[in-house]
């Protein structure tokens, strides 16, 4: 598979993630969408790492770090979801519009 193909897959994945992030009301679904978007970036990095870059360590480390940060991110986000859930027993993103003035 060529670089271009990988990139297109990445773009598709990103777009799917976007749909997830934009269309869902559930906070967890939003999170999933965003994770897909980040993974699309990872795929791109890996593909470039393979086809373009002479020293392949950078891309890999980049992806590893992304994975690590995603873990941290998810941890925080899920705890926030739990906090909201405690308060509301609901995790509907649209209910959150109550805040905006």
């Amino acid at each position: 598979m060529t670089l271009e193909a990988y990139l297109l897959v990445g773009a598709a994945l990103f777009s799917l993630g976007l749909i997830g992030a934009l269309s869902h009301r559930n906070l967890i679904a939003l999170l999933i969408g965003i994770e897909l978007m980040m993974n699309a970036a990872s795929l791109n990095l890996m593909a470039f790492n393979r086809f373009v870059v002479t020293d392949p360590t950078t891309g890999q480390i980049f992806v590893l770090i992304i994975i690590g940060l995603a873990a941290a991110e998810v941890a925080i986000f899920l705890s926030i979801i739990l906090r909201i859930y405690r308060a509301y027993h609901d995790i509907d993103a649209e209910k959150l519009t109550k805040l905006s003035g």
Binding site: A12, P56, H89
Partner: protein, 164 residues
């Protein structure tokens, strides 16, 4: 040929999983979709020459993150199992956005000319050892910072989730 088939399978996994994650109205299916997609990605990573990253993807992403999401979902399950009303308008908007974006990016990608290298770097450069070395020399700041972030995330998660 077989190799190609495997790759396409992975690609299919990525896209199908992604589709499931994106379009499913049931959170559980979405999580499963995410898992599938990540699995496919791990396969692609493997194919791109990095077994270590692929392994990490499986371990942390699928093994850690996805499972954490499942737990979170189960903790808040009382509400989330009720299927939310489908909102066609919202979905349509999301799809439109995604399509436009995809169109634009795809167009650009097809038009771009990357200076591709003739052949992949040596095995040594791809090795885990090289990775570890770079992580501890070249990217030591990043590594330290990442650990700090993880520490903070743990503290934060505990604090936030703690019952008042």
């Amino acid at each position: 040929m077989l190799e190609q088939a495997v790759i396409y399978t992975f690609v299919a996994l990525v896209l199908i999983g992604g589709g499931l994650a994106a379009f499913s109205r049931q959170i559980l299916y979405a999580i499963i979709g995410l898992g599938i997609s990540l699995l496919g990605l791990a396969g692609l990573f493997l194919n791109l020459g990095s077994p270590f990253v692929a392994a990490m993807q499986v371990l942390i992403y699928i093994g850690g993150i996805t499972v954490a999401i499942v737990f979170a979902m189960m903790l808040s399950i009382a509400m989330s199992i009720r299927p939310p009303n489908p909102d066609a308008r919202k979905l349509g908007f999301a799809i439109a956005c995604a399509v436009i974006f995809f169109g634009a990016v795809a167009h650009l990608i097809r038009g771009a000319q990357f200076q591709q290298i003739a052949s992949p770097a040596s095995e040594k450069a791809w090795s885990v050892g090289a990775l570890g070395h770079a992580l501890l020399t070249h990217y030591n700041v990043v590594f330290e910072a990442l650990s700090l972030v993880l520490l903070l995330a743990i503290i934060g998660a505990i604090l936030i989730a703690r019952k008042a």
